[in-house]
């Protein structure tokens, strides 16, 4: 623990002149669950493929356990990959699929038999040895793909959107399954997904990527509660992002109303972006709120009501609350100081893309 196992140093990658990754630096500690999260085309899969050895970076180095493995082919790397659409060998039985890597390494028959049994037990598919790939459901095929990878005792397991093809219920089950597997195996998982909920559920560390740059890296709580820029705030969960003026430390003005906050160091009278999560807005009597508004939409969502509150300046606040305020009712908007997240305003779109990685 504590030691970094994989280091990506100044990695750049372009395909046919299009920059996919630009000077990316990332270090992954041993025995952690790291998720690369971002919209499609953000470079997360390319990053994973560079770690796996299926792409070579245009520039930069891949360091694995202190060794430079940038030019090492995938079959010589101490890591294994679980691919997006499972990529099982359809001409082999389940047992043969799992045994593939071990046979290549010339392990003994009894060792391979034990390993197959162990791996199938681990993914809860005991007795599936002689089944054919085509007789398995998507979720089962995914488990076999994981079993096939982990019998080789990799130090790192790379997972490329492994749950993307599964339905919602199965996906949630597999999320818990993956957390359990990671804890039982005690190895490093690097997981690629565009699903923020998946990332928040499973990860120790989330790396939010956009347009080839790392936007923010941190624990799920950190990413969710303290987004560093509007992209992260918008991508992770739902949020109200409003322009504000930092009057002084711990006081911000939004649409002419003053809100107490806990952020410091932005200077005085500085323009900023303010993030407020919908569940952090308290609707109160108009005279008790910092800002007035009228409820303009109301939807029942099960766990809570989703409301839209339009303030006099025309901004539509998204509010989640278990209390019902009917459409047309005047309300006051109140936010606790620590629920307000202040971010630097990007000067240009380029800067927004570069984010924290400048």
């Amino acid at each position: 623990m504590g030691q970094s196992l994989i280091d990506l140093r100044n990695i750049s990658k372009s395909f046919d002149g299009t920059m996919v990754l630009d000077d990316l630096n990332l270090s992954v500690k041993e025995n952690t669950f790291v998720t690369l999260l971002g919209p499609s085309g953000c470079g997360k899969t390319t990053t994973l493929r560079i770690i796996g050895g299926f792409e070579s970076p245009s520039k930069g180095e891949v360091i694995f356990d202190g060794q430079n493995i940038t030019n090492l082919p995938p079959n010589k790397r101490q890591l294994n990959t679980v691919f997006q659409k499972y990529a099982l060998f359809t001409h082999m039985s389940i047992a043969e699929n799992i045994a593939f890597g071990l046979k290549i390494k010339n392990k003994s028959k009894s060792y391979i038999q034990d390993k197959i049994k162990y791996a199938l037990k681990l993914v809860n598919l005991d007795g599936f040895e002689n089944r054919s790939v085509s007789s398995l459901s998507g979720g089962q095929q995914q488990r076999i793909a994981i079993a096939r990878a982990i019998v080789n005792e990799p130090r790192v397991l790379l997972l490329d959107e492994p749950l993307g093809a599964l339905d919602l219920k199965l996906r949630q089950d597999m999320q818990y399954e993956l957390i359990r597997l990671k804890n039982e195996l005690g190895i490093t998982f690097i997981y690629v997904t565009h699903d923020q909920e998946e990332a928040l559920t499973m990860s120790d560390t989330i790396v939010v990527m956009n347009q080839g740059y790392i936007q923010q890296m941190g624990s799920p709580e950190n990413i969710y509660n303290e987004p560093e820029n509007a992209f992260v705030a918008d991508f992770i969960g739902e949020s109200n992002i409003v322009p504000g003026i930092m009057l002084r430390d711990e006081l911000v003005e939004i649409f002419g109303a003053k809100f107490a906050c806990v952020d410091k160091g932005f200077g005085s009278n500085a323009p900023v972006d303010v993030v407020i999560r919908p569940e952090d807005i308290d609707l109160v009597a108009p005279e008790n709120g910092s800002l007035e508004g009228v409820v303009t939409h109301l939807i029942f969502k099960g766990v809570h009501y989703e409301m839209e509150v339009t303030s006099p300046d025309g901004f539509e606040w998204l509010v989640h609350s278990t209390d019902l305020f009917p459409v047309g009712q005047k309300v006051g908007i109140h936010v606790d100081p620590f629920d307000i997240q202040i971010m630097n305003k990007p000067a240009s779109e380029d800067e927004e893309a570069v984010g924290v990685n400048e």
């Binding site: 995938p74 990529a87 060998f89 593939f100 290549i104 390494k105 080789n152």
Partner: protein, 270 residues
């Protein structure tokens, strides 16, 4: 009911152009000129002349099929690794000769291989001894490979293109080197394509008489030539049909052998 109506034309086609001719061949093959039942037409395969032609045909078509496979597989592999656009251009180049008449293509080879043909012309210009190229088994094999190679390339190319890149990546990820990927993953997964390629080359090569007529002169008789002569020159339809039946049996046997290796059941008739 509607579905049955739709299949009507196909059924009539099959009866009129497949079943009836086949039945006629069986009838002719198993009767003599007076119409009496006899096995002599079929059994005449054991005469020295006919047996020799059959074995030669089997040998040459087998060799051509193997050559086609050896040439086609690496080509299909190269096509697979190329980008889609580049790959289909190379495939197009390979199919292009098929747009020309089969006879013309074979006659062109005759011109090239003749005693005073183009190749020997170049050889004499270089003061090298002339070669007897035409009218040899080698010329026939060349003609077969040249004409039938596309039929081997295309089915193999098709199955190889269908293999997901990540399946290959997964094998490499699990430690396999390029040779192991080829032997353990690509070859087994491309068996359906190989099987249909073999079928599409072996059967026409076994029954051809045009290639052996043009490139083999009248010196080399394949079983196809023998049957052709019985129908055209000898006017002994009974003997020709009888030999055809024997040839069909050989084709059925080879199909059955191939089908054993084609678990997915793609590409073969059986």
């Amino acid at each position: 009911m509607n579905k049955k109506l739709l299949s009507g034309p196909y059924l009539m086609w099959m009866i009129g152009f497949i079943l009836i001719p086949l039945a006629l061949i069986v009838f002719y093959g198993l009767t003599d000129k007076s119409g009496a039942f006899t096995l002599s037409n079929v059994l005449s395969i054991s005469t020295e002349e006919h047996a020799k032609a059959l074995w030669l045909s089997l040998g040459l078509s087998l060799l051509s099929t193997v050559l086609c496979l050896v040439l086609a597989y690496p080509l299909a592999m190269i096509l697979r690794t190329r980008g889609m656009g580049q790959g289909s251009f190379i495939v197009f180049i390979f199919i292009l000769p098929m747009w020309m008449n089969f006879l013309l293509r074979t006659l062109a080879w005759q011109t090239l291989l003749e005693k005073n043909g183009v190749i020997n012309g170049i050889l004499s210009a270089l003061h090298l001894p002339n070669q007897g190229l035409i009218n040899t088994p080698g010329a026939i094999i060349l003609g077969m490979v040249y004409n039938f190679l596309p039929f081997m390339v295309l089915p193999i190319y098709n199955v190889l293109m269908k293999i997901d890149d990540n399946v290959v990546n997964a094998a490499r990820d699990l430690g396999a080197n390029s040779l192991q990927v080829l032997i353990r993953i690509l070859l087994p997964l491309s068996i359906p394509g190989i099987v249909s390629g073999i079928t599409m080359v072996f059967v026409p090569a076994l029954t051809t008489f045009v290639i052996s007529n043009i490139l083999g002169g009248s010196k080399i008789l394949l079983i196809g030539n023998v049957i052709e002569q019985e129908f055209t020159k000898g006017s002994n339809w009974n003997l020709g049909s009888g030999l055809s039946l024997v040839l069909m049996i050989f084709i059925l046997i080879s199909m059955a052998l191939i089908a054993k290796y084609d678990k997915n059941g793609e590409g073969t008739v059986l």
